[in-house]
Symmetry: C3
Subunit: 169 residues, 3 copies
């Protein structure tokens, strides 16, 4: 006789939080396939700068496939000993039947490890060696639809607090 | 025939998380009206410094209206290209009937954008331009009551890790 | 007549989030007893460095008691005016009957307060005085079991992004 109880399915708000949790991991791993799998085929991502009051459109990417390619191809690969963390907090999730929205704050950290010297760490070195710097922040707002039981992003608007320079500028 | 299913109401812990999510947005937008709407008429906010071991009271604000005024009037407005993010994590929420508590960690970031030069960004500029600096941290603990189906804050204690200088000091 | 309604029990995913919320508080308070209470007697903590691609084992601690001792004894005590915040975000929790996993991102902040000068703060000082620096980041992945109705950690793997120097290196 087992006393095991079947866990109830996750509540919708939590499922939607976890779409964002998978999004940040896909971004940090530069995993275009994992990223594309979070979006509908006709999803739209807009990147905006809102720090000067108005909202300026910086770029648009259309379609899950292109969104995956953008992660794998347009985001700079991590340098040796480098990593990033896209983090989100204070989600406001609204579910309305088979559609939903999520409004989250975000901060992106750039992580740069210090190379261990051939002769070992200096005597005064203790703890984690390197730097962790917040480099981007803002709001990320998404619309989602439940498709075959899975929440997928149909629209994602990334609003940066900081102005954004593109190499060709 | 519709297959739409009515979403169940949000669980109480999540509703309480979202009160905090609205609080941080109201603080960052310096939106006194949105802030006041989160508190009961007789709510009390205490600001404390706890970094030296004991808990020192820095200030008290009483009543939703005064709390809203404090946000709109006492918090410095953002400078041009400036913004902030109040962020909270690792909530511990306890619901007891029509009252509840929330214990959260917080970090506040100061965001300062770099002005785009008239001649455009320099050739080596790439990515977000400006700085994001954590300037405050600590714990924020609240008591809430459910009033007409909505959770409102009755008491909020902000415990700063860092000592706090007031301009008149 | 009371209209009070008994709050339903917390959903399992939330209970598991709160184990992590108690873990970060125990770490920041250097509270070995509170930390030990989160683990099973035979729990294992592994500390790893994964920033160079492969996963290097830095250390292992076995058993709730030893894990508590490590927090109280191996983590440096906070200096005067110092504090820390272990923070986690974007949890991915999977519950399977009486066992569960949690995959979270983490950032640790070092907080150093500025001592108030005997003559008071200088005229230009305003706001929080001191520095808040992210010093560690990575992923923390745990396995948990429900024991007598409480979720306890059976395995915790801390994967640091940054290389780690030990004083004896």
């Amino acid at each position: 006789m087992s006393t095991e109880v079947q866990a109830p399915p996750k509540i919708a708000e939590r499922q939607i939080d976890e779409v964002t949790a998978r999004y940040v991991r896909a971004a940090d791993h530069r995993d275009g396939r994992a990223m594309a799998a979070l979006f509908t085929d006709d999803a739209v991502v807009e990147i905006r700068y809102t720090g000067a009051g108005e909202s300026e459109l910086l770029g648009t990417v259309r379609g899950a496939e292109a969104i995956g390619h953008a992660v794998a191809g347009m985001m700079a690969p991590h340098p040796p000993l480098g990593w990033s963390h896209h983090t989100t907090f204070n989600h406001l999730v609204e579910v309305d039947g088979e559609t939903a929205t999520n409004d989250a704050q975000f901060v992106v950290y750039n992580v740069v490890g210090r190379a261990r010297p051939a002769e070992g760490w200096p005597p005064d070195a203790s703890g984690a060696q390197g730097s962790i710097t917040p480099i981007e922040s803002g709001y990320v707002r998404s619309r989602l639809s439940r498709v075959d039981g899975r929440w997928l992003i149909t629209e994602l608007v990334i609003s940066h607090d900081l102005p954004y320079a593109f190499p060709q500028d």
